[in-house]
């Protein structure tokens, strides 16, 4: 079957329910799925944030200090480290006044990959290109 492309679309905000956080950790799991697949088979998620899903992506999160729980920021950095494509909806960031430089990167951990601010049309395209769509 070769590669199967997936679009993970996160529309619920972080720190409300578990869903939007689990979207990220499930996407990261693509890295270890090969142990359960035939040789040559892969799964490639594209992680997209839209609507209220773009909230909770800002850097400087003190979740571990204050609540002893891994921050979304840390999870996002891990995504970049394992080379996942992360798209954040440009229109929705503008709507909430969140600029690109307010979001984290993982340069300090050696990741080249960066969060990509993308128009909704590009997220729509990711959904069209994917075999399956998963809404979180």
């Amino acid at each position: 079957m070769g590669d199967v492309k997936l679009a993970f679309v996160v529309q619920k905000p972080q720190y409300k329910g578990e869903t939007s956080r689990l979207a990220i950790t499930h996407a990261i799991a693509y890295q270890t799925v090969e142990i359960l697949l035939e040789d040559g088979d892969t799964v490639t998620p594209t992680l997209c944030f839209v609507g209220e899903g773009v909230l909770g992506l800002q850097k400087g999160q003190k979740a571990m200090d204050l609540y002893e729980v891994t921050s979304t920021e840390t999870h996002l950095k891990n995504c970049l480290l394992v080379d996942l494509d992360v798209l954040v909806c440009k229109e929705d960031l503008a709507k909430y006044g969140i600029s690109e430089d307010m979001m984290p990167d993982a340069e300090d951990m050696g990741a080249d990959k960066k969060i990509k601010v993308a128009p909704f049309s590009e997220i729509q395209k990711a959904m069209e290109d994917a075999k399956h769509i998963l809404f979180f």
């Binding site: 679309v9 529309q11 619920k12 839209v50 609507g51 209220e52 909704f120 729509q124 959904m127 069209e128 994917a130 075999k131 399956h132 769509i133 809404f135």
Partner: protein
């Protein structure tokens, strides 16, 4: 793409569905989503009923809430779980639950 969207709530805080495009779009009202098919707000039917001609509502979830299939807007086809399985496999190729 042929996309079936399951709508499981009445009041939605997402506008994703407004922006999604699909060559064939289906909306399947389940759980409290069935109110979109049965209930008007200030006399107006849900705007989701204008999104597509392919509208379905789950009979079991309508009846659970004390309503009848006859209460459903004429544009919406009442389906049961078995029908939903056929829709999933025969009519659409991608699914979303919002």
């Amino acid at each position: 793409m042929k996309l079936a969207v399951f709508v499981s709530d009445f009041k939605l805080t997402y506008d994703t569905l407004d922006r999604l495009k699909a060559d064939k779009l289906g909306i399947i009202f389940v759980a409290n989503g069935v109110y979109h098919a049965t209930t008007k707000e200030n006399g107006e039917a849900s705007s989701l009923l204008n999104k597509t001609l392919n509208l379905y509502a789950l009979s079991e979830d309508i009846q659970t809430r004390g309503m009848k299939d006859a209460d459903v807007d004429k544009r919406v086809r009442v389906v049961n779980y078995s029908d939903v399985v056929d829709l999933i496999f025969n009519e659409y190729d991608k699914l979303a639950w919002i």
